[in-house]
Structures are given as C-alpha cells and as structure tokens.
Homo-oligomer: 219 residues x 2
C-alpha cells in the first residue's frame, strides 16, 4: 500500500530537484503549524502552484513512503526532508574575507538551522584579526591550515574581493577544504573533486533589474 518504494535512483540527485525540495519542506512546516497530519503531492502542488507529478517525482528521491489516499505524514515528511537535505547535522565552515558581505553572513545565525556552522572567519586586516564577530573568532589568513586541523572543517565560504578569489580558493584547496561556497561574482577554478556552489547575489540582482526594465518597456 505504499507508493514510490519501488522507484530506484542510482547516483546523483539532480540539482533542480535539490533546489525544489526546500519548497516542499517549507510547505510541510506550514501545514504542521496549521495542525494538518497528512499531505498529498496534489495538495502541495495546489499550495505552491506546481505540477503534482513533478513533486511526486522529486519526492521519490528521498525514500519516503506515502500512503494511498492520505499521502505523506506531515511530521515524517519534515523529518525525512530535513535529514535528506543535510539540515539536521551541523557542517562546520570557515569564512574567508570578513568584509561587508562576509561580516553580514557571520551575523546570520539562521544558517545554523539549516546545518551550517561558521566556526571561524579569516582576514588579513589588523583591525579584524584577533577580534570576534557575533561570537565567531577571526584569525589571520596565514593561520588557516593550522586552524583547519584544529577544527576539522570541510567547507570554505568565499567572500573576498574578486582579485583574491582565485588565490584564496587555491589556498583552501591546498589546505584540504572539500567544498567552496562562492559568493564572489568571480568564476573560480578548482580540481574536479572539489564541490563549488556559486551564490552571486549580484548576478541575481542583474537578472532582477533586467526583468524589471523589460516589464517597464512592455507596459
């Protein structure tokens, strides 16, 4: 009486699926707040205006069994999704470049609720080195390799000026960092086994400005 259980996936979960799963998690959390016990993909589809078959397909990756007619148990769906997305386990990270955006990210304690624990920042500015921001220590960039062994960190967040982006990335990789979360608008190069996640707020701004002007011209 379960569905999805015989859909097998080997290998990687597609990136578009990984990007959509947090939507379903949010919807499930809202339903829980409203006291709902069960939810079907059809209901989620209606709530967020998406195709139900796409949702069912995406959810087939997370190995959760839905019951015919009633759908998924809301509490279970939340727990399984949070676990699958890596939000239940804290991943330690270092942040490189405590400037305007880097400092802002150190202030965002919300990242902890989604599995990211920034344990230290690195910079070269004398006014920053040796201080703390939001309780997080800031070390000199030269201390990185030593501190990595101390903290056991796999993730590096890149918020340096573009002219340092590649050099700091190379330093991270040489020091054993396995994933780089790149907030700079620079396209960094890394060896094949290193994970890069690009989040350029400026590229998103460019898309938004362009669409806004386009709509203005059309109207």
């Amino acid at each position: 009486m379960t569905t999805n259980q015989d859909i097998k996936h080997n290998g990687k979960v597609p990136e578009p699926t990984l990007r959509r799963l947090p939507w379903y998690l949010s919807t499930a959390k809202l339903l829980k707040q409203r006291g709902e016990r069960f939810v079907s993909s059809t209901q989620i589809a209606k709530d967020i205006n998406m195709d139900a078959s796409q949702i069912a397909k995406d959810l087939s990756y997370v190995h959760i069994a839905g019951r015919t007619r009633v759908g998924y148990e809301v509490e279970t769906l939340i727990a399984v999704l949070e676990d699958f997305l890596g939000f239940t386990r804290l991943h330690k990270a270092f942040l490189f470049g405590v400037g305007s955006l880097g400092g802002a990210l150190l202030h965002d304690s919300g990242l902890q609720h989604f599995g990211l624990n920034i344990v230290a920042g690195f910079d070269v500015a004398p006014r920053l080195v040796g201080t703390r921001l939001n309780g997080i220590p800031i070390f000199h960039t030269d201390e990185f390799e030593l501190r990595r062994m101390e903290y056991g960190v796999d993730i590096g967040i890149l918020t340096v000026p573009i002219e340092l982006a590649q050099a700091i990335t190379d330093k991270m990789v040489a020091g054993g960092i396995k994933a780089v979360w790149n907030f700079t608008p620079f396209r960094i190069r890394v060896p094949e086994h290193i994970v890069v996640q690009n989040t350029s707020l400026y590229a998103h701004l460019a898309v938004m400005f362009n669409r806004l002007n386009f709509n203005d011209i059309q109207q």
Copy 2:
C-alpha cells in the same frame, strides 16, 4: 571592422546569459587592475575556463563592438557591462523582516556598488520599529504603503519567516511593488506582471551538502 554589430536580438536576454555576464565583468575588472587595455573573448575563455563562442554569444547581447584581432577595449567593456547589468543606476528597495538574515543584508553595504539601495526596513517587533540599522530606518509594516509613496520604491526584499512569506508578498504587490527578491525558502505566488527573483541560501546549502556527501561516498 567591427564584429557582433549585425547580430540582432529581439526581446528578453536569456537568464543564463544574465548570470554569466557578471563573470566577464569581474574578469575585465581584474585585467584592468593588471594594466591590460584590450581583451578578446578567447582570452576571457582561457581565464575562466569556458567556451569562447559562448562568451562571444553572450556579449553579443550587450551591443559592444569588438575590434578584429585586438578584441574589446577593457575600460569600455567594463562600462558597457555595468550599465547593461543595471549596476550604474541605484534602484531603491524596501526590506521586509529585519531578522537574522534581513539584518545581515541591511549591513551589506556592498549591494550599493551593484545598484541596490535599501532605503528602509519593515518589521513588527517593537524593539526594532523606530530604530536604525547601519543608518537605515526601520518602520512598522503597517506604514509600508505610506512610505512607498514617500520613497518611490519598486523592489521589495523578502526575509520574513515562511509563515508570513505569502501574506507579506500579497501586501507588497497590493501596495505597488514591481519586483520581489525572495530570500525565503517558500515558493511565493504573484500576478504575472510581478518579477520574482528567488535566492534561497538554504537551497544552495542543500545542493552543496549533497554533493559533498556524494563525493565522500565515491572516494
């Protein structure tokens, strides 16, 4: 002796192109710092490890003329790209939800260099309303429509908890906001003429965690 000039595009610039253009801008800025006067798409391609024909195609949208053999003038390329991407003109924005992430964004003065000027924040928390963060005033959410007329703002940044995401979006749209920059992991619904730019840091984290685990299993 110019290239690209007879390539005509009608209508929208594709989103992938808009997302890649900031890479070329960064590369051009670096070349300028190094004292270079000209750059070809072949050179950019080598610098950032991309296909040269893709770069030439993307740049054909921005109406910049390259000279045969020498390529684009670096200074002109920077100026034309910054203008095309909307970074040279300040776009006023309101931010809704001065929590951890919202507060962090108010602290990020770097957004101004890319054309975004957050002129006010909105929240309902008594400890926030009437105060300033990084010099930016925080008003009660009820004051939004009044303040919109005062400031003439078209962009709303959404950093509220997920249970408020749709209600605040509806309020923005009713009050005349034309573009929503959505940082929540909730999929908001808007009328067709409203621009939505989703930037879910948490969705990006999920992709990064997943790839990191996948690499660990493979090795």
